[in-house]
């Protein structure tokens, strides 16, 4: 049985590949659970119960998915342009810092304060994204490298800010740094009926539609898609590469920054490193699995939100460390990447060599 490249993709075969990928995903995750002596059955049951089992659980899933939708969109829009930004992690933090700082400096309160804080968060993320954008466009510094390095720098920045003398809350220890909480009036309101989901979820959904329209129907989106597929041809036909890179990095940064400040105002209500960690890198996985489309990102984000929500239950019910969820993210990514590759090939039965002299 050999595999040869297809001339065009067949939907049935593609669906089959993704189905197999899903099965492989569960199989490999089960193996990881088994490797520490756990029970895959109990683990998966707990995952399901904690994510979709009750209405409350669904709310938790949506709440966990909210930042992932935003960071996923952030990565997706960059990856459509083949700008491999890994900076979502740092942009989340910087957005949170910028938004939180705004609440302090401007003395924000009430719905207007929420809007301003969210805006500042987005602007903060955009600013950090632009740093990498300028480094790439003007100085030809590889985006992957600069975003990763900036992630680490921003991490240190946050630690510095959370010192007792600055934003750090009085009475904290080194290993549990956090800031003072934001004013009550700045807490994001919850969606009626789904108590765990806050306004940020709605914003995320709206932005999904907006990004989808941007990529699919606008001139900028056309340039983004074309640039990702063939930058040379796009530049030859008038696209300003530098301007495009800056625009994409700004939008991408803004989305991640919004995720960061959204988490601060909606979930943790204060600046805490561990409350902001991980969304960026997970967003990358979400975008890749969602094939960098708006809808795909939404679906993948919901899937990973379910995993995250279920992870907590899994810890309690099956005594499996919730770090399994991080491992499962990596497994999911690889499984789906394999599916994508497989969908481009088709199996052929070996041709019998009939040639005779």
């Amino acid at each position: 049985m050999r595999f040869v490249p297809r001339s065009e993709t067949a939907p049935a075969w593609t669906a089959f590949c993704y189905g197999v990928a899903l099965a492989v995903f569960f199989l490999l995750s089960a193996l990881v659970v088994l490797s520490v002596g756990g029970s895959p059955g109990k683990a998966f049951a707990a995952l399901f119960k904690g994510s979709l089992g009750t209405w409350n659980a669904v709310g938790g899933t949506l709440a966990k998915a909210t930042p992932l939708i935003l960071t996923g969109l952030s990565a997706a829009i960059a990856y459509r342009a083949r700008i491999w930004s890994i900076g979502q992690e740092g942009q989340v933090v910087f957005g949170a810092v910028a938004g939180y700082g705004a609440t302090l400096w401007f003395g924000l309160a009430g719905p207007f304060g929420i809007a301003v804080a969210l805006l500042c968060g987005a602007l903060g993320g955009a600013a950090l994204g632009l740093v990498s954008g300028v480094l790439e466009a003007r100085f030809r510094v590889n985006v992957i490298i600069s975003t990763v390095l900036l992630n680490y720098c921003v991490g240190y920045l946050l630690l510095w800010l959370l010192q007792p003398g600055l934003w750090g809350e009085v009475g904290q220890t080194i290993s549990y740094q956090q800031s003072a909480p934001v004013a009550d009036s700045l807490f994001l309101p919850a969606i009626p009926g789904l108590s765990k989901v806050h306004l940020g979820g709605l914003v995320a959904l709206v932005l999904t539609i907006a990004v989808g329209i941007l990529i699919g129907r606008t001139r900028l989106g056309f340039e983004i898609r074309g640039f990702g597929l063939n930058p040379r041809a796009m530049v030859a036909r008038g696209v300003n590469a530098g301007a495009l890179i800056l625009a994409v990095m700004a939008i991408s940064g803004a989305l991640s920054g919004l995720a960061g400040i959204g988490q601060v105002l909606g979930e943790s209500h204060r600046l805490r490193p561990d409350a902001l960690a991980g969304f960026g890198y997970t967003g990358i996985v979400v975008a890749l699995i969602g094939r960098s489309s708006a809808v795909g990102t939404l679906i993948a984000a919901l899937f990973f939100g379910a995993l995250a929500a279920g992870g907590l239950t899994m810890k309690v019910m099956a005594d499996i460390p919730s770090a399994l969820v991080t491992a499962m993210q990596g497994i999911a990514l690889i499984s789906f990447l394999l599916a994508e590759i497989a969908s481009l090939y088709q199996p052929v039965r070996p041709v019998r060599d009939g040639g005779a002299a």
Partner: protein, 300 residues
């Protein structure tokens, strides 16, 4: 800050810098071979982390640093083999494959750590100590190996037949394919070498720098390796210089935390990253990036 510059302090910084350069250099030279062969091999951070954790488990369970190093190398080889399968055989995008492996590695090691593969909680071990007396006191044998590796790699790449073929893989693999040389095998071997070296580096990092594993133990060093190669313009000598530079910065940061300085600790820790960015932006000599780097080879 002035007491930072007394001779004993400077000497201590030098020794610390050499120690810190060791794992970076070993990993960077291995990674250089992979990149000269045309593969970005972005999974350095994940490989290093996995190897460090593997070394930790082995040394805690068996008490043998030598065995731990061996298993660390093996862990590096395994990750490299997976990466090779994804990028060379399946021709997956090298960045994406590398990122996926980094994620997988950080997730699985954290999971195993929390699940207690090494035993309950966080057992400690006796970390490797340097040579205790004589003219080389304070140095590690591994450091000598690392510095000897640089000219060796140079000689291999520039003065041997397999070295020419490896460089060709990174410049124009089709030229080799047309001559009947197995391109896939060459690329896989290069990746395995890089994985083994990074594994060794991760193992050494674990055994010599700490007495226990913590989450995200490697802290971005894998990425500094990639930066060092780009900053070193893919030449062994310059990569060595870049690595020494980073190591010196890190040693300075640690020393100032002990000795005290007016610069915030976080800024000093961020220095290697900030300066890398600045240097890459300002100094762009004619890039010697391998022409086929990142392009999966397909027969036309």
């Amino acid at each position: 800050m002035s007491d930072l510059f007394s001779t004993t302090i400077l000497f201590a910084i030098l020794i610390a810098a050499l120690k810190m350069a060791t794992p970076l250099l070993i990993s960077a030279l291995g990674e250089l071979v992979a990149q000269r062969a045309g593969n970005w091999n972005m999974a350095v951070e994940g490989t290093m982390l996995t190897a460090a954790y593997a070394a930790y488990v082995v040394v805690v369970l068996t008490g043998s640093p030598a065995l731990a190093l061996g298993v660390a190398i093996a862990a590096g080889l395994v990750v490299a083999a997976v990466n090779g399968f994804l990028t060379v055989v399946l021709k997956l995008d090298q960045f994406v494959a590398g990122l996926a492996l980094n994620l997988l590695a950080s997730g699985i090691t954290l999971f195993w750590f929390r699940a207690g593969l090494q035993g309950k909680g966080t057992p400690t071990f006796a970390s490797l100590s340097p040579i205790s007396e004589g003219p080389f006191a304070g140095l590690y044998p591994m450091t000598v190996f690392a510095f000897a590796l640089a000219p060796l790699i140079w000689w291999f790449l520039e003065r041997t037949r397999p070295g020419l073929e490896l460089r060709c893989l990174g410049e124009n693999p089709e030229a080799l394919d047309l001559r009947g040389v197995n391109v896939r095998r060459g690329q896989m071997l290069a990746l395995l070498f890089a994985g083994g070296m990074t594994g060794l580096a991760g193992g050494f990092l674990m055994l010599a720098f700490s007495d226990r594993f913590v989450p995200d133990f490697t802290g971005g060093r894998g990425w500094l390796v990639v930066v060092a190669i780009i900053a070193g313009n893919w030449r062994p000598g310059r990569v060595l210089a870049a690595v020494l530079f980073f190591a010196a910065l890190e040693a300075l940061a640690v020393q100032s935390r002990v000795g005290g300085s007016f610069l915030p600790e976080q800024l000093l820790l961020a220095m290697p990253y900030l300066l890398s960015l600045a240097l890459m932006a300002l100094f762009r000599s004619k890039s010697l990036e391998p022409a086929a780097l990142g392009i999966p080879y397909r027969r036309r």
